[in-house]
């Protein structure tokens, strides 16, 4: 048996699990307000732009989104397996592909702000 390469994905999964556990519910709440029309100040264009403009803001946004995406992607891989989808390699390419795409998009957007 050979040692697995899963640690790369698992470490992102674990980090993301922790980060999302701490911040995501609050973020969802903010976005829920926004969707109800009560846009909280962070989600006004100016604030969000200012926040994402600052290098520290960029770093925070990038970090949170990165680990959230990879957390979700890795867990989705396992979950699809649990639902009986046995094409693990295909699934892995697909879910990590999605996470990669999201990461790339974030990177590009952040650079443009």
């Amino acid at each position: 048996m050979a040692k697995s390469n899963k640690p790369i994905f698992w470490s992102l999964f674990a980090a993301g699990g922790t980060v999302t556990a701490f911040v995501t519910p609050a973020l969802v709440l903010l976005l829920l307000f926004a969707s109800l029309g009560l846009v909280p100040s962070l989600f006004t264009y100016e604030h969000l732009h200012d926040f994402a403009h600052h290098w520290l803001g960029k770093l925070i946004i990038f970090g949170v989104i990165l680990v959230s995406l990879w957390h979700a992607a890795h867990r989705l891989r396992v979950t699809l397996h649990d639902f009986g989808v046995r094409a693990d390699t295909v699934v892995a390419y697909a879910v990590y592909g999605i996470a990669g795409l999201g990461t790339l998009m974030t990177l590009v957007y952040l650079l443009r702000i």
């Binding site: 701490f22 995501t24 969707s35 999201g102």
Partner: protein, 129 residues
């Protein structure tokens, strides 16, 4: 040989219906779908910001749709479930030993809940400010 062991197959697609604890597990696992979609929601917000105020206004308008309200509402419940299930198992994954005793699990979980409350408060305050 006269032995002929009988093998009971586990259903690969419906096994989790067989026990409440499996259902709880699957509920925990599917939180990832919501987190994934929600994170893309954030990515979209970011994209809109990158494209300028009009794009962002359009984004907020889309966010105002009933579907999106519903999604965010459900996502709130689901992500809270994720947080709770995540924190509850931390003492198992990362036990803390002080001298000859392990710190009781409920303290570790409690500490996480405490930090969670603080972080959420900070995010909310910053967000609403």
């Amino acid at each position: 040989m006269s032995c002929k062991p009988y093998i009971r197959e586990t259903s690969k697609t419906t096994w989790y219906l067989e026990h409440p604890r499996y259902k709880r597990y699957m509920a925990r696992e599917v939180t990832c779908i919501f987190i994934l979609i929600f994170t893309f929601e954030l990515v979209c917000a970011l994209g809109a910001v990158a494209n300028g105020p009009e794009a962002y206004a359009a984004f907020l308008a889309k966010l105002h749709s009933p579907l999106s309200i519903l999604f965010n509402l459900v996502a709130l419940v689901v992500t809270v479930y994720h947080s709770v299930t995540w924190f509850n198992v931390t003492p198992q994954a990362m036990p803390v030993q002080i001298g000859e005793e392990f710190v009781p699990g409920q303290y570790i979980v409690g500490a996480h809940y405490g930090v969670w409350a603080v972080v959420s408060l900070v995010v909310l305050i910053l967000g609403v400010w």
